[in-house]
Amino acid sequence: MSGLEWKKIDLIDLVLLPRHRIQNIKTEIVAQCSNGEKFDNKGSNTTVFCGKNGMIHVFFRNWEYITFKSQSRNEAPIKFCALTTMDVLATVTQENNCSVCIQVYDLRKLTKREGTPHLATTNLSPDSAVTSIQAECSEDGKLLALGIGFENGELLLHYGTVNSINFQRHVICLRPIIGIQFEMLRHQSDHGGLICNMFLDCIDKIFCYLLHEKGLVHKNPILDERTSKHNHSSTMHKPKGADEAYFVVGRDDAIYCFTKDEKGPCYAIEGQKTNILWVDNLMVVLLKNKKNIFTPLSSCVITVVDIENKIIIFNREIKNVLCITAGIASFYIITKDSSGCTYNIYILQELNTVNVIRLLTEKHMYDIALRILDRKGLGDSPVTAQVRFQYGNHLYSIGEVCRAASEYEKTIGTIKPYNVISKLLSVRNNKHLMLYLKKLVVSEHATNEHRKLLCNCTDRNKIHFNVHELCRLQFNTSSQNILHLGASKNIAIRGDSSFKMSNIELQMGENGDLPQLFLDSDEMKILELFADTAEDLLTNHSEHILKVALSLMANGRITDTLRFLTLFPDHPEFCSNVLSNVIEHDPNCNEKYYYYLLVLYLGLWRDKKRTEKFILQFLKNSPLRTEKAMVLCKMYLFSVGIKQFLNGNNETFSSICAEENIRKCINYLIKGNSDFKTPLKKDPSSLLFVLQSIFHNADIQVLHLRPLLMEESMKNVIDPCDEAQCVVDLNKAIEKYHSLLVQLEESPIEFRNTSCEKCHQVWKLPSLYFICQHSFHKDCYTTNKTSKCDICITNTEHSVKLMPTISLEAGDIVLDISKILAFGIFN
């Protein structure tokens, strides 16, 4: 079974029908047939069981039954039987693979009082064993097609009246004919007779012949030939609305369908099929269980496939299956017990719709649930709406919002709009919410609130549209576009800052005046406005935003230029343009602007957007202080700039490095960084030496150093005198620890305790011993987090109070630790 590919869910129950009339059959059933499955329940739902004792049991659709004796003179039991949709029964008995007796009965005339409804008997002596039989009648019941297949590939065919059986012998192939099916067509042939297609299944070939009263018509007889996979069983099925029926053949790998002209679809269900029934959308397949291949009747797997929904709705192993028959909207499974003479009947009963839908929705098979509801005529029911809503929720949860919205729309009138609206309220779902609300309004289930919401959604959508539209228009707007802009003004007032920025941009482009919006706002609001949207607009309209920004600065609407520029950390080009313009217009501006501009230029130089020449020119023309400019050049590894300072301005450089200047610089640093006061004061040259060494590593940043420099030990390291002392202290500490370890190693502890430290009772096992020589009964020991000695923990807690004194006395953290350890261990 290609079980991995099929969806599976149990939607069918197997129910035993107790005290059924079939249990009255007390003999072994040797052949059975029914017409319930024929052409989608067009048959009368009659089932025939032929007993080994020659009795024929006919069960009607209500499971009432009549039994009569076979008229065959052969002593052998009935081997095969076939029943037409018009209740004409044909039976075959065969003795020693030669003498064949064919009986035809008209079951329509069968009553309990009347005798056997015998129509005709034919005795033949073929050379081979019978392997199959099939019969079919025309709708008026006058024409009978009866075929008997033989092991040697021969076919006995009668195609004529019911009352007079006249067989013609045909050699079809050299392999056994294991399946025969007839398809009676309503239209007539040129000769006035009914046309009938005959399909033959011969192990590895499929044939199709067109029949008329005079015999076979050869018409593309071989439909399919496949030696690698063998055919096992066959049936006929006419799909809904189709013109022609399918000849359905079960092969090892799949179930194949054939029309009279060609191959149709196939369904990949693996295994040896012993029986196939197909009624409406349900296909029941009886598969021989591989585990019990040598005992054919002992165990079978019954699989029910919902073909329309491509889902297996029943798959179970059942023992001793005799056959499956189709009843009214159900299937019956007949099994026999181990004695082989008592029979049970089970019905494959579909679960009620509520349970089916529940199971399907639990497994997120919403589409199948909806199709089933539709099939049952419940397409407009509240249950369907509920399933659709759940389906919508599921689709929404997996990101399929469009499809979710489509499902939600179909729930209008049943599901409360609030439930849907609350899910689609997000801006990104505005379009879907609008569609839903529009349908809601049309359906007349909407309230005024819903209509108002639709208006709001429409406005929201327009804002979005207008922003995009205006961005597209840029500055070469035609008069028509200006009109469009004017129409959008109201929307802008509603607070969409994106729109405002577009508006501003356009206005600046048209007349160069400062937008009214800014004239009405203070600096904070203007900065907020830029912070919200300007960065997005910079991507496409940096020049225009630059004009707006410069205009705002020139008009004094923005006074804190550097703060303004911090809004655009990812746009150094824009920032540098702003600053260079500001400097150009006011060379005596704040000195910081020059340094910030240098930083921006150096960044752009690093990104290869400015040349070295450009930077050098800027350095030359700007009133920058050499030492600061050098630091910045060093930061950006702008070596050309540094060289210029070193080579071209030797005098200046030496003056920079003068002791006095360094001291000034350090004092300045101390002023701004009180934390570094100690190291800077003790020995600034050592500190600078350390920093220089550290900064050779590109991964270390200044911020990383701050906590390090604040460490007391670092301060000691920086001071050369303290450094030496520190080394001496550390060596002493190491020596102490070493001697302590030696002492512990060379002094085994003698254990003398005779009682538990806790309960003071006599010693007994199991017990616990600590290195501190305290010992406890295991049961007395209080489990604590650290698994330390209870008594020592108490002592330590007591001694903590003394620790500050110790710490102050030692003045060294290592010494502190050693003292604490000593205290804990030896007291």
Partner: protein, 213 residues
């Protein structure tokens, strides 16, 4: 409905490339975003007109998974045209074309017209296979090439109809033996009212020996 010719097609390609969606778009003119996995072979049909003649296209939509390869192979024989489909957003489906092509050439008749289809052209942003690569593959292997989108229906009609035109041209050139239905072509009642392809018509069994018992 009567038709002049019946052409049988097979659609092949890796799983998930959109074979069933192409068929659904062609036969029902709709797109199903979530399509159940094809388990076996599905079947579709549609009438088209070429050169003023009604032509019925019968299409076998096969499963792309390796597990069903033997079933798919049994359908090659009897197909006049094949649509070999790959997904332009999944490189591996393009890489497997050679295997599919070998399979098709081995099990089909030598005259079968093969159309290479790069499906999902609407997902250009996720494209992994350039159109030029598809064209080059088609040129190298003597195939007709087209990029389609089952979602937007772009080029779907053209793909099926152009394949039919190729087959029709081959019939006109006498390349196909139209009396041999194993070639995937059947003459309909419209083209031949007397249906000359039925040699035993009106008589007793042709291939079968018959006799009265």
């Amino acid at each position: 409905m009567s038709y002049a010719y019946l052409f049988k097609y097979i659609i092949i390609g890796d799983t998930g490339v959109g074979k069933s969606c192409l068929l659904l778009q062609f036969t029902d003119k709709r797109f199903q975003p979530v399509h159940d996995l094809t388990i076996g072979v599905e079947f579709g049909a549609r009438m088209i007109t070429i050169d003023g003649k009604q032509i019925k296209l019968q299409i076998w939509d096969t499963a792309g998974q390796e597990a069903f390869r033997s079933i798919t192979r049994s359908y090659y024989r009897g197909a006049a045209g094949a649509l070999l489909v790959y997904d332009i957003t999944r490189r591996e489906t393009f890489n497997h074309l050679t295997t599919w092509l070998e399979d098709a050439r081995q099990h089909s008749n030598s005259n079968m017209v093969i159309m290479l289809i790069g499906n999902k052209s609407d997902l250009d942003s996720r494209r992994e296979v350039k159109k030029e690569e598809g064209e080059a593959f088609a040129r190298e292997h003597g195939l007709v090439f087209m990029e389609t989108s089952a979602r937007t229906a772009a080029n779907v009609e053209e793909a099926f109809i152009n394949t039919a035109k190729e087959i029709y041209e081959k019939i006109q050139e006498g390349v196909f033996d139209i009396n041999n239905e194993a070639n995937g072509i059947k003459i309909g009642p419209q083209a031949s009212p007397t249906n000359p392809s039925l040699p035993g018509s009106g008589g007793a069994a042709g291939a079968a020996n018959s006799g009265c018992c």
